[in-house]
Symmetry: C2
Subunit: 778 residues, 2 copies
């Protein structure tokens, strides 16, 4: 691949300074004059009819400025998920902001208060009298599918919200062709993305329904569309300010919740801006990764070739489908069905209502639940048949040049899975470790791998999912450039990488392009959410196009200044020069100054007119959809040590190899991988939101109750390997990175544990208790 | 002229609601968390050397967070005027933020404090000990020009900062050719624009020199350039937030003052945002309209034809030239020299330093001072020679098709002065009023007129003055559009008229285009200041171009949707239809929704792919300079009543006729005229900032000391007549309006007073005291 100037460098993150000096730029820290504080009253019942609500006493509490009841909230149903239209036919339109008749989970908002302090608002909630008529509740999705179970939504018989099927070939034939058939049931748990900054919004809504909102969101245009719909006002009435930063998202800030419309309506009612900040507990019960139970059955030839694959997945979406409608699809497609070749395949999915909390988006979006089943079972097959786990996967994997399995309109134009596996194996010393003894004494070592073979670089080609991006680029007179885009940095370095793409295309040095910090839904073009591993590829392509437009203008003005043809010019590192004559040059700053100079410039020799043609700020704009949706792929290797006395599992070494197309910023890419491993390892070994089995109340109230990997638990060594396959449709060859690295750790760790102690775990998280039980010690 | 849909309608001002409900959007109301309050210590001496400054006691006052002394401020000289480059060769580079050696006027800042309250900051100023060595001062510009006068600046002998000359033909020959020669001396006074919102800024500057500033400014890019220079940092480090509104400007917020860099440096030093708000007194001593004394001599033939025109103008620029460098040029060119044809003409101007306060920009920018002289003297000539004041002016005026007198590269392509005079005369009943008796008793009626024959629609063609504009336009899915531009609305309705221009070009209904409220110097292209009557013409042309780009894209997407050629489509009132087949149509909203829809849309019939070509927000961008600088022209008629007992002058009726090219919004245009008349009438009759003759201290401390016309004094009847001459280079035929209407009232009123009582006043304001003195009663 050709060497580039800015792309490929680990340039410093421009947001680093703000972030280490106190958090300027986070919605959390926005304060508006006269701002009130809002709090929501939540149902203590998992399933109940609301008989009456009386807020008289709350309204009389000094400091209370507005009380909001269901009757004040438009009773409309829609999907709050940001990446699809508000009434997308493919989604389940069952969400409402504040239902005045029924509650379906513990924590559903039933009223809200705005007061001069959060404490007064909290106290006022106690003074709202709600009379409930309790109804029978169901918390297990398989129970919920029984005919005699309580019914949650009238239009979902047996509580089945969605029942998609993927099918290919003839399954019976496939299993008949098999030498061996493997079956297993794999269960994943409910976890939270654990972003650091809680959901918070500050909303100002005037009596003419003009709304301005500062909010922790992964998609400002999604917030605009859904909030406008929830409020019953035209979209353009809502201005969503793009937060310069949010304290993490990971898919957990990808939908509207009650918070935003409730704050807006409290603001309109009180005539003052209203701030609502979730407690950590409120965040825990707002969105989580849906638990999925996977029944997986695979037919294989002796040599490891798949003959048939069947799976059934039961997803607990809780009280409302929201993301559950789409998570099940991604789970089925990219967690199971399209991962590997098989002549005969079938998958059926069930998104099932229960009286649990709502599930939602989380990095990987259904794939971790599927991959845990698929990659565990492949390991079981290899063990049983004595096959090499690397060769087994390569035998059944996709190949470069094939049509994309999910969308045959696209071709797999780049695909580096074999390199990922070979280089990863080399790095961790796979061959030697597989043969090595598992250690002496109570601590047993093991090594394991998993791959993630098919993924996305955005949503191009998916039904009903937005996928276009926009950007505005402006060159300043000091030779820097400003980049404005709705594309959100959710903490993973998008600002850095997108500015690098712009700098490379504009021919500016690293650091000379800055992200505009004051964008909103009024002043920048639409961009789809920061999700689905899409930003570098999709937003990157739009930013490259906007930069190309600005560069064209830059060279036109430089050509007037230098009295040459624009075609003879090139620009790099802030210098415009004549091709082949690097000595004949001007700086980008000089060109920008000339373009913005007065029409007649006074000089020592008198007035010197310039031309109208060269006048004008050098700008570029683009708004476009990508032309493909290339798949990255990845291999994860881990070495673990299992303490057979305590059940504790330590990950000693992790190696992750990823076909990234082209690395924009190696250090930022490593950060993605390491953060992904942290979340994947937490999923594998420790994270789990707990509920009371009787009442459905969430028992996890803050991070003290929720164990996730810290520096203490993280492996001392994580190696990231980036395979550069130069994706032809990507910006400078790049494709996606963000999610595969969170999908692969759990099965790799489970496989390594099996390698260490010979016990197979099919139920996450693999806690010390389960290890000891598996070892027969409990 | 062709009828348009939105242009020409008195659509409602979109800012009206915010403005009548409490002022959201004004810099005055910005509050940032942790914000400190700054105050400046000002010199009590008009001319002194600073011997020492000791701030020890101030620093120790509890609540004081930072003290700024001259040693903390870069000692650089530049022009603070926004519309020219910071080191423009045509300007005088004598301004500094905080001079550590010398003070040259009472009120010059010498130190500053930031504290937790404005009261503590004020108290701390008292604790700063400054030792001065007083120097002799001079307050009269003609005295200042004497060789023995105190010298203010080393490089300005005789305190003459600038001495421009315009000359044409042979003056001696011209006077020799005359039948009559008239001479007079005309003196104007120092007045303030009296915007309602004082100058205020809120600045956040971090330790890496990133600056964000909210400020009352007429030019965000000017603030950026000058503030960056004053601070010694690259321009792109400074983000100037475009205030949605400012409470008036009128030319009075067209330069950097000490406030902005002082607040920035206090912020950097304290680590907190700093707010500085001027008291009304501080505003009064920061900028004012420069007083000018004009010696005017005119040679005429018996029939009123000019044979020679000579003038000398002495402008008191105070301690620093700032605007005085350019005001003298505009004054000479558009107040005197180019107003009328004359075969032999000469004008010489003197911008003179004194120990008075700095002068500055004010609507009309030097022309009111010149026009008062010229239009008064024409009246004197008509009286003496028995000529008709209308015919006399038309005889010597410019004509359509002539080269533009100031810049012969441009042609006068539209010119409606004769219509202005004829229609204005008709409206006020000129012929009858001239013959009518002047009233009985002590109250005498009179009628007068003035014209302003040559003006600008911006600065295209002026040396060193920025003149290009930019805009970004985006069409929303609900059929509305957002307009983002750096062009400021300074209270005169620019938001309304610019949105109308965009709506007309886009084919949207009035009100469907909204001005983006969150622009800044990072996210929109450069625009020259809101000054020089330029916004409708120059910014309007850029907005029309950006809208045209968006419209082109709109029709392309509509063409895909409707399966026709884009060339066959037209758009109006939010409907795209096939030319000639109005029934075959889609709405703009439908087209925008299609453009922003997912690539594959689920429908009742299954997935329906759309094309990549139609994907993307419909956007337009433009940044360009206009191609001409057309002159508007205007005639002002007034009827006055002079109370010969009290000296009071009442204006009974004002008629103003203006060649506007095309009226964008009649009601907004009337507002401009009526506001202009208010300021012009105040200039004529009452406004005057007063100074102590001994010390140079300003005695006018607030509006109680400064009489301007209120509803009590305003005429009960003001008629505005707009002559539409369809300027070919203007947006929909428009040219400028904002300033002629403030230039014409003073001479028209002086002429009407002469008509009423036969006394000629050549010294503004014409107070009751002067009337009575003129009548020999005092």
């Amino acid at each position: 691949m050709n060497k580039l100037n800015v792309v490929g460098q680990s340039v410093e993150r421009p947001d680093a300074y703000d972030k280490v000096t106190g958090g300027k730029g986070y919605p959390m820290n926005v304060r508006l004059p006269g701002m009130l504080h809002g709090k929501m009253l939540r149902s203590p019942y998992a399933h109940a009819r609301i008989v009456s609500i009386d807020a008289t006493r709350a309204e009389q509490l000094p400091g209370v400025k507005a009380v909001l009841l269901p009757k004040d909230v438009p009773q409309v149903k829609f999907t709050p998920v940001y990446f699809v239209p508000v009434q997308a036919p493919s989604m389940i339109l069952d969400f409402d902001v504040m239902n005045g008749e029924i509650v379906r989970y513990v924590g559903q908002p039933v009223a809200a208060v705005a007061a001069t302090s959060a404490e007064i608002a909290e106290a006022a909630l106690e003074l709202i009298d709600v009379e409930y008529e309790e109804l029978p509740a169901v918390f297990d999705p398989e129970e919920a599918m029984q005919p005699d179970a309580p019914q949650l939504h009238a239009d979902a018989p047996n509580n089945i919200a969605k029942n998609p099927v993927f099918e290919f070939g003839n399954l019976d034939q496939g299993f008949a062709d098999a030498d061996f058939v493997f079956e297993g049931v794999y269960q994943t748990q409910r976890v939270h993305t654990c972003y650091m900054e809680p959901r918070v919004c500050i909303v100002d809504m005037d009596r003419r329904d003009n709304v301005t909102i500062h909010v922790t969101t992964q998609h400002i245009f999604g917030t605009r569309e859904k909030l406008a719909f929830a409020l019953g006002i035209p979209e353009s009435k809502v201005k969503v300010v793009k937060p310069p930063y949010i304290g993490g998202g990971f898919g957990g800030k990808l939908e509207l919740t009650a918070m935003e419309p409730v704050a807006a309506l409290l603001s309109k009612k009180s005539g003052r801006p209203v701030r609502i900040e979730h407690t950590r507990h409120e965040d825990f019960i707002t969105t989580t990764r849906n638990p999925i139970k996977v029944f997986l059955k695979t037919g294989v030839k002796k040599d490891g070739t798949f003959t048939a694959r069947y799976a059934k997945s039961i997803l607990d979406c809780g009280a409302h489908a929201t993301h559950g409608s789409e998570v099940i699809m991604v789970h089925g497609a990219f967690g199971i069905f399209f991962n590997y070749h098989a002549p005969h395949s079938k998958w059926e999915g069930f998104t099932v209502y229960t009286n649990n909390m709502i599930g939602g988006g989380y990095r990987g979006y259904g794939a971790p639940q599927g991959s845990f089943a698929v990659e565990s079972q492949i390991d079981e097959i290899c063990t049983k048949l004595g096959l090499d786990p690397i060769e087994m996967r390569l035998k059944n994997a996709r190949k470069k040049g094939e049509p994309h399995p999910f969308n045959p309109a696209f071709t797999i134009a780049s695909y580096g899975l074999e390199d990922c596996l070979r280089q990863g194996a080399e790095k961790i010393g796979w061959a030697a470790a597989r043969k090595a003894p598992h250690g002496e004494g109570s601590k047993k070592r093991g090594i394991g791998l998993s791959v993630h073979p098919v993924w996305v670089s955005g949503c191009m080609g998916f039904p009903d999912i937005y996928e276009h991006s926009g950007a505005i680029v402006k060159i300043n007179r000091d030779g820097t450039a400003d980049l404005a885009t709705a594309s959100m940095d959710i903490g993973s370095g998008q600002i850095t990488t997108l500015c690098q793409i712009a700098a490379e295309e504009l021919g500016l040095p690293a650091g000379a392009v800055r992200m505009s910090s004051q964008c909103d839904t009024d002043n920048v073009p639409f961009d789809a959410p920061t999700h689905a591993s899409r930003v570098t590829y999709s937003s990157g392509n739009a930013i490259k196009a906007a930069s190309a437009m600005a560069k064209k203008r830059l060279l036109e003005v430089a050509a007037i200044l230098m009295e040459v043809s624009p075609d003879d010019l090139e620009v790099a590192n802030g210098i415009v020069s004549v091709k082949g004559s690097p000595g004949k040059s001007v700086t980008v700053a000089q060109v920008a100054q000339r373009a913005e100079s007065p029409f007649v410039q006074m000089t020592a020799e008198g007035p010197a007119p310039t031309t109208v043609e060269e006048k004008g700020t050098i700008v570029g704009i683009a708004s476009l959809a990508p032309t493909s949706n290339p798949t990255p792929c990845a291999a994860q290797f881990v070495e673990v040590e299992v303490d057979t006395e305590t059940g504790e599992v330590r990950v000693l070494h992790a190696v992750y190899a990823h076909d990234i197309g082209r690395t924009i910023n190696p250090r930022a890419a490593e950060g993605q991988v390491e953060g992904g491993f942290q979340q994947g390892m937490g999923y594998a070994l420790m994270e789990h939101i707990q509920f009371d089995a009787e009442t459905g109340s969430c028992l996890t109230s803050d991070f003290l109750d929720y164990k996730m990997p810290t520096a203490m638990e993280m492996p001392r060594k994580i190696d990231s390997i980036f395979i550069e396959t130069d994706e032809p449709t990507g910006p400078f060859g790049a494709k996606s990175l963000g999610e595969c690295c969170v999908i692969t750790p759990a099965p790799a760790i489970a496989n390594a544990i099996f390698d260490a102690i010979g016990v197979r775990f099919r139920d996450l998280p693999i806690t010390p208790e389960k290890i000891l039980t598996g070892l027969g010690k409990l």
